[in-house]
């Protein structure tokens, strides 16, 4: 601090007493209104610290006098939203799938709800829009393992496939190669016959040899000429849609080692209304029967 306040001779303003090579620094403090506004903001922040959650502690934080909590805020918002949806949801719970379909507004609500539920729960495997991936069925096409009628779709969602649910869809296909049920050459012949069913590229002679093997080992589930059996979850083999790949090597691998995709049961995890909405959505993706 300068011992004596010096005034600049040109402007008449006080100097800070700092001087560099004869150049003196004028003391031009911040405007009063600015300073006081700043003090007010400090005071306001202190009030905030007291009223709201603010200071992080080791395993907790100061809760504030108002007891405000963002999680509660969100929970309340969700409750409000659910209360708004409640009339629609309760109608969906009691209506049959056909009744929902027939009601334009209800159907639109169900389709939107179904899409959201699908994206939250199903799209991880089945992909957005039900596009599917290797091992995860495409839900937009007209080929269904366990049936594409609304009831069948609903059943699959509820009980899952090879899940822990007692009513789960279940169909163990034998591991023809791994368990030594067929020789390697027989498996290859059978594979050629299977490829021939959908008109894919195959070895004609091998397919001829494979036909009796198919008739003996496969026809019980996959049906005559590979028409499949949704009752048993046996895939159609006479179309160009392949869950695990339609090339010869993939088919051989399927016969040798079997395939056993899994899907969790959603009954209990999703409520009835949501499962109904999901059913409608999946059915409406384009392949519904």
């Amino acid at each position: 601090m300068p011992t004596k306040i010096e005034k600049d001779s040109v402007t008449g303003t006080e100097t800070t007493g700092h001087e560099w090579d004869g150049i003196k620094e004028l003391n031009t403090p911040l405007p009063k209104w600015w300073i006081y506004t700043f003090y007010v903001t400090i005071a306001a922040s202190l009030v905030y610290y007291v009223l709201y959650p603010s200071i992080p502690l080791v395993s907790s934080y100061t809760k504030g006098l108002l007891g405000y909590d963002q999680r509660e805020d969100v929970a309340r918002s969700i409750e409000v939203a659910q209360a708004q949806q409640a009339p629609m949801v309760s109608r969906i719970r009691t209506a049959t799938l056909e009744q929902i379909r027939a009601d334009g507004a209800l159907n639109a609500f169900a389709m939107t709800g179904g899409r959201i539920a699908f994206n939250n729960n199903c799209a991880g495997c089945h992909q957005a829009g039900g596009a599917g991936a290797k091992g995860y069925p495409n839900l937009a096409d007209d080929d269904w393992l366990w049936g594409g009628a609304p009831d069948a779709i609903s059943g699959t969602i509820r009980h899952g496939v090879r899940s822990a649910d007692p009513d789960t869809r279940q169909n163990p296909m034998p591991r023809f190669g791994l368990d030594g049920m067929l020789k390697r050459s027989e498996i290859e012949d059978a594979a050629d016959y299977v490829l021939s069913l959908s008109g894919a590229k195959h070895n004609e002679a091998a397919a001829k040899r494979g036909e009796p093997i198919y008739a003996e080992q496969c026809v019980a589930c996959h049906g005559e000429k590979g028409i499949g059996n949704p009752e048993l979850g046996a895939p159609r083999l006479n179309d160009p849609i392949w869950l695990y790949g339609g090339d010869r090597a993939s088919v051989i691998e399927s016969i040798s080692n079997s395939r056993a995709g899994m899907m969790p049961a959603w009954a209990g995890r999703l409520d009835d209304a949501t499962i109904k909405m999901l059913t409608l959505y999946v059915h409406g993706l384009g392949g519904g029967q």
């Binding site: 001779s9 040109v10 402007t11 008449g12 303003t13 992909q127 957005a128 829009g129 039900g130 596009a131 599917g132 495409n138 937009a140 096409d141 007209d142 080929d143 159609r236 179309d239 160009p240 849609i241 409406g284 384009g286 392949g287 519904g288």
Partner: protein
Amino acid sequence: MDAGPLSTPLYADRVRVYPRRVRGPYRQIKWALLGICLAVYYLLPWLRWDRGPNAPGQALLIDMEAGRAYFFMIEIWPQEVYLLTGLLVLGAVTLFLVTSILGRVWCGYACPQTVWTDLFMAVERLIEGDRNARMKRDQGPTTLLTVGLKTAKHGVWLLIAAATGGAWVLYFNDAPTVTREIFTGQSTLSVYFFIGLFTATTYLLAGWAREQVCTYMCPWPRFQAAMQDEHSLAVTYRAWRGEERGKHKQGDSWEGRGDCVDCRACVAVCPTGIDIRDGQQLECINCGLCIDACNEVMRKVDRPLNLIAFATLSGETARAQGKEAPYRLIRPRTIIYALVLLIASAAMLAALLLRPATELHVLKDRMPIFVMLSDGDVRNGYTLKILNKMRGENALRLTLEGLPGATIAVAGTTGTAAALDLEAKPDAVATFQIHVRAERGVLHGKETPIVFRLKDGGGNEVAKRETVFAGPGQ
């Protein structure tokens, strides 16, 4: 040397302006335009226009909630707001053209700030008296009469302001309905808010701020110079005729002196409180009231009229030297503005007349991009949005080109042909989820170009969209 840097304040105090009453042709024009402008503003929303059932019957209505704007026979959807932009462009160019020819007549005669200020000043004169009476009262002691008169004045001002704010909301609502609701207290909060907002701005801007709006707030005076040149008309004091100014007694000779008798009538009537004899100024709004005031005086002293007149800079320069200067209306500037105006109007008109009554938008589903079906066919999904801007049902037929043998169907149904009948509700956007199914053999690679066409009942094509059909390729 002790005087601080701010020995004089940075802000000049406002000098209160007490404009005097004036009579004359320019005042007449100003009254007429004031009447027309106010009549248009207050009455336009009440004009009715029959658009048939299910459509508002108001000639001019901006319906924010429904997203429609109505201008007599024209109806505008939100995406056509460019037409309003175009209207503003036309307004701006027209302003440029008028300014290049007549100077700032917009400011002096038609600007809402001028119109409402003029109206408020008329009310003020009616209640408080003319210039001298008002000045005397404001300088004198505050009496009961002063308080009474001022209260009456502000009361009338607030009434006018409320009517102004009230008329504003009529443009955004059905006028008779909303008027009834306003007075019965049933209107929405936003209606009351906007009435309050425009009441406040009208009262403050026309009652208190007045010429300060033009001088300090409005950007227009700042760049008007770009539109004007030495051939633009402007209210001008003919200094070559008026100087040397001085008092004149009846009978004195006019030899060796100017015509200006320094009566300051031009200053007294000026609504912005300037002295036009100082030359062209930013504050001058070109209203011409000083011309009326000066001519009154010139008649009394029996000198030629128009010592102050609408004149051009080049004309006055020539006259000062005793030469005649023809008035040049056609100049590169006016030609360019007129051309721009013409082109912009033509483009606007074309855009208005050529806009389709039906629009088709196609969004290709991206997930999945395509679906292989059991019989080897390929299916693509599309979301169609059909905008039907007409007031009637629109029975449309959607056809597809580019995929021989393909079928179209609304999602969930089975298609039989490359055509589909669709109903578009009146004045609405209809959304359809459709599936197109084609044999793999007709596809060209991974993306096959296709065209959707919409035809009306008479078989005329009303809209088309090009898009692609995706397949597995090979």
